[in-house]
Symmetry: C2
Subunit: 249 residues, 2 copies
Amino acid sequence: MIRTGEWTGHTTGIAQGYVQANLVILPKAWAFDFLLFCQRNPLACPVLEVTNTGQPCPTALAPDADLRTDLPLYRIFRKGALIEEVTDIRQYWRKDFVSFLLGCSTTFEAALLKAGIQLDHIEKGYNPPVYISNQPCDPAGKFKGPLVVSMFPIASEKVAQVVRISSRYPKAHGAPVHIGNPQAIGISDLSQPDFGELRAIGEDQIPVFWACGVTPQVVARQARPALMVTHAPGHMFLSNWRDQDIDEG
Amino acid sequence: MIRTGEWTGHTTGIAQGYVQANLVILPKAWAFDFLLFCQRNPLACPVLEVTNTGQPCPTALAPDADLRTDLPLYRIFRKGALIEEVTDIRQYWRKDFVSFLLGCSTTFEAALLKAGIQLDHIEKGYNPPVYISNQPCDPAGKFKGPLVVSMFPIASEKVAQVVRISSRYPKAHGAPVHIGNPQAIGISDLSQPDFGELRAIGEDQIPVFWACGVTPQVVARQARPALMVTHAPGHMFLSNWRDQDIDEG
């Protein structure tokens, strides 16, 4: 349905139990530094698959898929500037394109829900708060910038369980990067996220922060590559893998 | 001592408790495909660190080290042919060199010994048997070839424990890739290893196979890069990291 353009909406809550992936496409001249950036920052940029140069098929994640048509919405950037949102990138495709598919928090969120942990943004269907922290990523070539984190409020008696469960998914951002003190990572006001929204945090809830898949996109954009294609926020690639396929616990 | 040339011997049993690393140095033009090969074959090629282009210092593993002088013995390859073994590579160094430091079995071997598992090759001080299997690595560009495996005979009642312990070190080849049936991975005669030697395998010992750090060197050599530098077998890079720093269990 996505391929034929029948579905152009976001993928939250769609194809539950299947691994969703962030997409970053870069010309090969930029690919080594970006792969190195991912290797050096594995919590923010967990590599699920990197395609062969010019090859639009992610043979491991979904051998029948075509990355030029199979995401509901793409963003096209020239030198870091957003120039267009499109549902099909065949007109932009280049023979020197390398596609990076990176793990996404949906996988550990599903595991948390299964364990009875309540996640307000999923129950009520909104984008969770995302903050630009003061923690620098380990740079690689032109790719550098701060770690971007997402935050879920967790009931205090559940925090240890949440750490244990999310730790089992290093390919989906893994264990939290910080628990409990937003100031310690440069976040002065939880109510003012850089992306998404904070609707509520209860008296007995602790803010728990994970490395966020927005990080590589922000960093890649700031590097101003000649041309870059990404998924539009929330419009992820749906793979054939089940969440348990990347459970490394 | 290695830097000044006082120590040019192998590193087996040296600096126990510290992480040792395989070294592969390639010109930047070859670096993306090799890093991609490592990403696709993480058990054989567990990346500990990739240096910045032209930078001979592994800033994460040992910020005071110089990869041009700090290994006891290097091998220089031109188009895949071994041309020289040297104790210092300053004369070969190029500004476009990228250095890959890959995890090594010494880390999980130390953990096995600590748990009371006997490893004959360590007790008696010889190179363990290493075989070229019939299992293909996932190729990347010009880098392709079979998985090379090392084998340690393990007492049958200890096999499960050995799996549990080695699994905790994915950055040091991790869990075994095969247990018990050499024919299943294309090894017809255990007594004829491709490298190292099989001195003994007891009646109640099971052959347990791990992905081996020889894999990336064989594969890189077959790709015939213009120039490549590696450590000489057994002459590893000694890092500042402790074995427990890469315990991910």
